[in-house]
Amino acid sequence: MTSDAPATDNRPFAIRTYAPAQLREALRRMYLIRRFEEGAEDSYMRGLIHGTMHLSIGQEASAMATCMELTDADKITSTHRGHGHCIAKGADVGRMFAEFFGKETGYCHGRGGSMHIADVRTGNLGANGIVGGGLPIAVGAALTAKRLGRDDVTVCFFGDGANNEGAFHEALNMASVWKLPVIFVCENNGYGMSTAVTRSTAVRHIADRASAYSMPGITVDGNDFSAVAEAVHAAIVRARAGDGPSLVENVTYRWRGHSKSDRNRYRTKEEIEEWMTRDPIARFRSELIAHGILDEAAADAVAAEAMAEVEAGIAFAKSSPAPAIGDVTRYVYAEN
C-alpha cells in the first residue's frame, strides 16, 4: 500500500492507495467469487450439491473492497451469504467446492456445507446459518485482540435483515462501551429474504443505527469498490488506533433469489435488471483500465485465470473422498 500520494490526486481512493498488483489481485478475486458461485449454481443444478445455498452474485465489490487491507491475523465473521467473504479473505476455491460436495477435503470436512464455510487459517471465523449469529462473536474476537494487546481488527459482515435481531443491538453496544477494534459491515441488499428494509427497519439507513451506540456510521455505494475500500479503511484506522468500532453500510443488491427456493414475488424484474446494469465487477474493471492499471487483454487474462481456478477447483472436489460414515460423531469434541 502506498498512501503517500500527493494531495492534489483526485483519482478514486483505491487507485491512489493500492499498488497495481494489489488492484489486479482484487479484480481477480472478484471474478473468482463470481465464477465460483456460477460454478456452484451449475453444480447444484446437476445434482452434485445437497441442500441449498445463498449466492452473492452482484455483491462482489462489498466483499472484496472490505477485505482489501485485512491480513490473515485480522478476523472476519461472515453470514449465510458468505462465499464472497471467504474468497476475498483468501480461501482456496478447491476446498470450498469440496465442502459444497460434502467431501472430507472440504474446509469443514463435509460436515458444514455452504452455510458454514470457514477458513480459520486466513482469519475467517465462518459463515453462519443464524442471522445475526456472527455479531457477538465478532465482538468477542475484538475483545481478544484488545486483551492480548494485538493490533488485529475484526470485520463483522451482516445483512440488512440482521440489524433487527437483538444480537445486533447487544453486540454494537458492548463493542462501543469497551472500545473494541471491530468494524461492522452491513451488506444492505435491500431485502432480508422477501422483506424489504423499508418494511422491516425503522430507520432509513442501517448506518443510522450507529448513533444509538455512539459510533461512526457511514452509508456507501456498495457496488463502488473504491468507496467501500475508503470507508472501511477509515474504520480500520480508527479501530487499530484504539478508538473503537464503526458501522459501514454497503448498499448493494443480490441478483439471484434469496436461496435456491425463491419465487421472486417480492421484487420486480425491472428492479433486478436495473441493478444488473450496475455490475460491480464490470465497473471496477473499467475503472482499472481507465486509470491505466490494466488493459483489456490483461483484464481478460485475469478473468480467464479465475475461470481456470474454478474449473480446477471443481475437478479437485469431484475427485476428493467423502467422509467415512463411521466418523459421523467425529469433531463433536476435541480429539486427544
Binding site: 445437497h50 460436515r111 456445507g113 433487527n164 429474504m193 422483506t195 427497519t201 459421523v328 460423531t329 463433536v332
Partner: protein, 336 residues
C-alpha cells in the same frame, strides 16, 4: 388442491392441510392472526402460508422483521390480551433465539399469575433433517420443550393430523408448539373437510401387532410403518404407535401396548440421549407394564452429533427404515 383418491376421499398435502386449518380458523375467528418471517408474499420458507396474505391481507398475515425473540414475544403478549396468534418460526432451530419468551414467559404466565392469565399462542416449527441444510437448520428439538410445564408439544405425522392438531391448538387456552417435519410437507393423505379437532395428548395405534411395540413420532412413524411392513414378511408382528403429542404424553396407549407385546422400542429423530425415548422408557419402567417386559427397552435416536451436511452422513445420523427394521428384528428375535 382437491385431489380425490380412488375411494373418493379428498386428498391434500401436509402443508395444504395446515394452510386449510389456518384459513378456516381465520375465517371463523377474527382474533386469529399469523405472524412470522416471510410468510406474506414469499409464502413462508416452506410455502405453507403461500397465498393466505392475498386472502386475509397483510394486517392478519404479518411479515415480521428477523426478530425471533421479539416476534415470538409480541405473539405472547397479543395472546395474553385477546388475540390468537399463530407464530411461524422459519426453522424450529430459530426457536432458540426466542427461548426466553417461550419458556420463561408463555409457558409460565398462567401459573405465575395463579391461573388468572391465559396465553393461547400457537408456535409452528418446521423441524427435522434430510434437506442438506446442516447443523443449524436440521435439528429435532421437540424434547427440549417436553421438559417445560405449561407447554403442549405436538408432532403431527399425517396431513389429517396436521390440520386437526392445528385447529385443536387454536382451541386450546394454553401455548402449543407444533413441530412439522420438513420432509412431510409434500406428503399427501386424506384430509376431512371443514373444521375438526384432533385430540391433544392422544397417541394412535397406526398398526397393531403382537411381537413388539414401536413408538415413534412425526416422520419416524412412516419409517417405522415401513419397517413393520417388511418385518411382517418375516413373520414378525410389530405394533406401531404414533405418539402425536410429546406433552402431554399418552401413557395409557403406550403401556397397554407394552403389556400386550412385552417389547418396546422408541424411535425419534432427536439426539438419542436425554430424549423422548428416555421419557417413555422410564415411564414404562415405573409402571406395572414393567412386569410385562420380556426384553430390554431399545431407543433409536439421532447420533450424538450435530446434523452433518454430507448427505450420507446426514442419513446415517438419524434412524432410517433399515435401522429401525434391523433393531426391531433383533428385539423380536430376542437378540437384545
Amino acid at each position: 388442491m382437491n385431489a380425490m383418491t380412488e375411494t373418493g376421499l379428498r386428498v391434500l398435502s401436509y402443508s395444504e392441510a395446515i394452510r386449510e386449518a389456518m384459513a378456516i380458523a381465520m375465517e371463523n375467528d377474527p382474533t386469529v392472526i399469523l405472524m412470522g418471517e416471510d410468510i406474506g408474499v414469499y409464502g413462508g420458507a416452506f410455502q405453507v402460508t403461500l397465498d393466505l396474505v392475498d386472502r386475509f391481507g397483510p394486517d392478519r398475515v404479518m411479515d415480521t422483521p428477523i426478530s425471533e425473540l421479539g416476534g415470538a414475544g409480541v405473539a405472547v403478549g397479543a395472546a395474553l390480551t385477546g388475540l390468537k396468534p399463530i407464530y411461524e418460526f422459519q426453522f424450529s432451530d430459530f426457536a432458540m433465539l426466542a427461548m426466553e419468551q417461550i419458556v420463561n414467559q408463555a409457558a409460565k404466565l398462567r401459573y405465575m399469575l395463579g391461573g388468572e392469565a391465559s396465553v393461547p399462542v400457537v408456535f409452528r416449527l418446521p423441524a427435522g433433517s434430510g434437506t442438506g441444510a446442516a447443523a443449524q437448520h436440521s435439528q429435532s428439538i421437540e424434547a427440549w420443550f417436553g421438559h417445560v410445564p405449561g407447554l403442549k408439544v405436538l408432532q403431527p405425522a399425517t396431513p389429517e393430523d396436521a390440520k386437526g392438531m392445528l385447529l385443536s391448538a387454536l382451541a386450546d387456552p394454553d401455548p402449543v408448539m407444533i413441530f412439522e417435519h420438513k420432509l412431510l410437507y409434500k406428503m399427501k393423505g386424506h384430509v376431512p373437510e371443514g373444521s375438526y379437532l384432533t385430540p391433544i395428548g392422544k397417541a394412535l395405534v397406526r398398526r397393531s401387532g403382537t411381537d413388539l411395540t414401536i413408538v415413534a413420532g412425526s416422520i419416524m412413524v412412516h419409517r417405522a410403518l415401513e419397517a413393520a411392513e417388511r418385518l411382517a414378511a418375516e413373520g414378525i408382528s410389530a405394533e406401531v404407535i404414533d405418539l402425536r403429542s410429546i406433552r402431554p404424553i399418552d401413557a395409557e396407549t403406550i403401556l397397554a401396548s407394552v403389556r400386550k407385546t412385552g417389547r418396546l422400542m422408541v424411535v425419534y429423530e432427536g439426539v438419542k440421549a436425554f430424549g423422548v425415548g428416555a421419557e417413555i422408557s422410564a415411564m414404562v419402567a415405573e409402571s406395572d407394564a414393567f412386569d410385562h417386559l420380556d426384553a430390554p427397552i431399545l431407543r433409536l435416536g439421532a447420533a450424538d452429533a450435530p446434523v452433518p451436511y454430507n448427505p450420507d452422513l446426514e442419513r446415517a445420523a438419524v434412524p432410517q427404515v433399515e435401522t429401525i427394521e434391523a433393531a426391531a428384528r433383533r428385539l423380536a428375535r430376542r437378540e437384545v
